[in-house]
C-alpha cells in the first residue's frame, strides 16, 4: 500500500514558497516563515507513490527523489 521508501530533498534555489509540499506532507516539509523557503524537517523518507505526488505538484519543480531503492519498508 505504501510503496518502497525513497528519500526526497528540496532545491532551495528553485523553491518559490508555494507551500504545497507542506500541505501534502506536513511531517516532511516545512516552510520557513521569514524567507518562505521549504526545508525537509524529517529524515526525508516517503513512500514512492506519495513522493511522486509531491514532486509533481511542486510548482517550482524544486523537490526531487534523491535516493531510491531504500531497503527499509515504511
Amino acid at each position: 500500500m505504501s510503496g518502497n521508501p525513497v528519500r526526497v530533498a528540496v532545491d532551495q534555489e528553485l523553491c518559490i514558497g508555494g507551500g504545497i509540499c507542506e500541505m501534502l506532507e506536513p511531517e516532511v516539509f516545512e516552510l520557513d516563515d521569514d524567507v518562505v523557503i521549504s526545508s525537509v524537517i524529517s529524515d526525508g523518507l516517503l513512500p514512492r507513490n506519495r513522493a511522486e505526488v509531491v514532486v509533481d505538484r511542486c510548482p517550482g519543480q524544486a523537490i526531487a527523489i534523491v535516493e531510491e531503492n531504500l531497503d527499509k519498508e515504511l
Binding site: 534555489e13 528553485l14 523553491c15 518559490i16 514558497g17 508555494g18 507551500g19 504545497i20 507542506e22 500541505m23 516552510l31 516563515d33 524567507v35 518562505v36 523557503i37 510548482p59 517550482g60 519543480q61
Partner: protein, 423 residues
C-alpha cells in the same frame, strides 16, 4: 492594437480565428477550439505582428507551462502581442519574469498565500460571504455580479492587503476598465484619471492602470509614515530596504494583487452561479451530500477558466507535438481549450460536480507561474458553496449574462439571479 487578425493566404488559412475579442461576447468559441485541438501537431495562428503557435490541448499546455527554461515568460510579453523593451520593463511583474527575478518577487508575497496561511482567512471570507448572501436573499435577487461575485473577492483581498474596504467599489470600477483594456474597445479616454503616461507603458494599455498605480503610491506613503503588519506594509518595507524590490516592482505588484485578486475570482463565482442555475440537479447532488463541495469547487474552476490564455516565447529551437518550434516563436497556452480537452476530461462539456481527477488549468498548467492566489480562490468558492448549501439556496438565472469583450479574461459584467428554495 489588439484584436483583428488578418488571415493571410498561406497554408494556415483554415486555422479558425480565436483572438477576435468580439467573439467572446457570446462566450468562449468552443467549436473553434475543438477544431484546433483536432489538428495534428500544433496550429499556427495568424496574428497582427506575425502569429503564434496555438497550444489548445491539455498535454502540450502542461508541458509548456512546466518547462520555463524552454518557454520564457520574460521575452516579448505574456500576452499575444510583443511590447517594446521600455514598456516591458515599466510593466514587468511576477507574470512577466523568469527565475531568478520571478523567484525573488514571488517569495516576497508567497508566504501570505500558502495553503496553511490562507486557512487563517477562512473566517473573514465567511463573514463577508454571509453578509452578501443574506442581503441577496432579502432583496429577492438582482445582479449576481454586483451583489455577490464582485464584492466578495475584492473585500477579501483588500482586507488581506490592509487597504480600506470602503474603496472596494472604486477598485472594482478600475478593474472593469482594466478588463476593457484587454479587449479592443476602451470606453475611457487616454487622459482619464489624470493620466499623462503613454498607454503602451501601462498594464493593459489602460489609463485605469495609472489610477491604480496612484492609489498604490498613496498606500505606500501611508505605510511609510505609519508601518502596519499587513501585506502592503510588508511590501513597502521590502521596497524601502531597496535591494530586493524596486519602486516599479512595488507598483506592479500592488496592481497585480488588487486586479488579479478580485477580477479572477469574481469570474469564477459568476460562471459558477450560472452553471449551478443551469444544472439544478447537479446542485441538488451537492445539497444532498455536502462532502461534494470540494469536487464541485474544482469543477466550477474548470468550468469558469477565468484566465483564458497565457503566452510564452521559445528560448531555443525545439519541438512540440511533433511540430518544429523556432527560437523566438510565440507559444500560447489556451487554458480555455485545455479545460475542455476530450482526451483528458470525460464528457468535457458536462458540468459534473462529482468529477474525479479534475486536473484543470484554472490556475495555469503548473510550473513556477502557478496562480499565486490559487488557494485563496479555492477557499472563496468553497465558502460560497458551503453558505449556499447551509441555506438550501438554489439559484435561478433571470437574465442573459453581459460578457467582457476580451480573449484574455473570461469576465462577466452582469447576470441576473434570484433565489429559489430547494424542493
Amino acid at each position: 492594437m489588439l484584436g483583428t487578425s488578418d488571415m493571410t493566404p498561406t497554408a494556415t488559412v483554415e486555422t479558425p480565428n480565436v483572438t477576435d475579442p468580439s467573439l467572446y461576447l457570446q462566450g468562449i468559441p468552443h467549436d473553434r477550439f475543438a477544431q484546433l485541438r483536432a489538428i495534428g501537431g500544433l496550429a499556427w495562428h495568424p496574428y497582427e505582428d506575425g502569429g503564434f503557435w496555438a497550444v489548445t490541448r491539455h498535454a502540450e499546455a502542461r508541458y509548456v507551462s512546466r518547462n520555463p527554461e524552454l518557454f520564457s515568460s520574460a521575452i516579448g510579453h505574456t500576452n499575444l502581442w510583443d511590447l517594446e523593451a521600455d514598456a516591458l520593463e515599466a510593466r514587468r511583474s511576477l507574470i512577466d519574469t523568469d527565475a531568478p527575478d520571478h523567484t525573488r518577487l514571488r517569495r516576497l508575497v508567497a508566504g501570505a498565500f500558502t495553503p496553511k496561511n490562507i486557512r487563517w482567512w477562512e473566517q473573514v471570507v465567511r463573514e463577508i460571504t454571509i453578509e452578501l448572501l443574506d442581503e441577496f436573499v432579502v432583496q429577492g435577487g438582482g445582479d449576481w455580479v454586483d451583489m455577490v461575485a464582485a464584492p466578495m473577492p475584492i473585500q477579501v483581498i483588500l482586507t488581506m492587503l490592509g487597504v480600506p474596504v470602503e474603496d472596494s467599489d472604486y477598485l472594482v470600477e478600475l478593474s472593469n476598465y482594466l478588463v476593457e483594456g484587454t479587449g479592443d474597445a476602451q470606453s475611457i479616454p487616454p487622459d482619464a484619471f489624470g493620466n499623462t503616461t503613454e498607454l503602451r507603458l501601462l498594464p493593459f494599455n489602460s489609463p485605469a492602470s495609472h489610477a491604480l498605480f496612484e492609489y498604490g503610491e498613496g498606500m505606500r506613503q501611508q505605510r511609510r509614515d505609519e508601518p502596519q503588519d499587513d501585506l502592503v506594509g510588508h511590501l513597502v518595507q521590502a521596497e524601502s530596504e531597496g535591494e530586493r524590490f524596486s519602486l516599479s516592482e512595488y507598483r506592479n505588484m500592488f496592481h497585480l494583487l488588487v486586479f488579479a485578486g478580485n477580477e479572477t475570482t469574481r469570474t469564477a463565482l459568476s460562471h459558477g452561479a450560472m452553471a449551478l442555475a443551469a444544472n439544478p440537479h447537479e446542485w441538488q447532488r451537492v445539497l444532498d451530500d455536502p462532502s461534494m463541495i470540494e469536487s464541485a469547487t474544482e469543477e466550477i474552476l474548470r468550468w469558469a477558466t477565468p484566465v483564458m490564455h497565457m503566452r510564452r516565447t521559445a528560448t531555443s529551437d525545439t519541438e512540440l507535438a511533433g511540430t518544429e518550434i523556432a527560437e523566438g516563436d510565440k507559444v500560447v497556452m489556451w487554458y480555455a481549450s485545455a479545460n475542455r480537452d476530450e482526451a483528458v476530461f470525460e464528457d468535457p462539456f458536462r458540468f459534473d460536480v462529482g468529477r474525479a481527477d479534475n486536473e484543470h488549468f484554472a490556475f495555469g498548467g503548473g510550473g513556477p507561474h502557478l496562480c499565486l492566489g490559487a488557494f485563496l480562490a479555492r477557499l472563496e468558492v468553497t465558502v460560497l458553496l458551503e453558505e449556499m448549501a447551509k441555506r438550501s439556496l438554489c439559484l435561478e438565472q433571470t437574465s442573459e449574462p453581459v460578457r467582457a469583450r476580451s480573449n484574455f479574461v473570461h469576465g462577466v459584467l452582469s447576470v441576473g439571479m434570484q433565489p429559489r428554495s430547494a424542493r
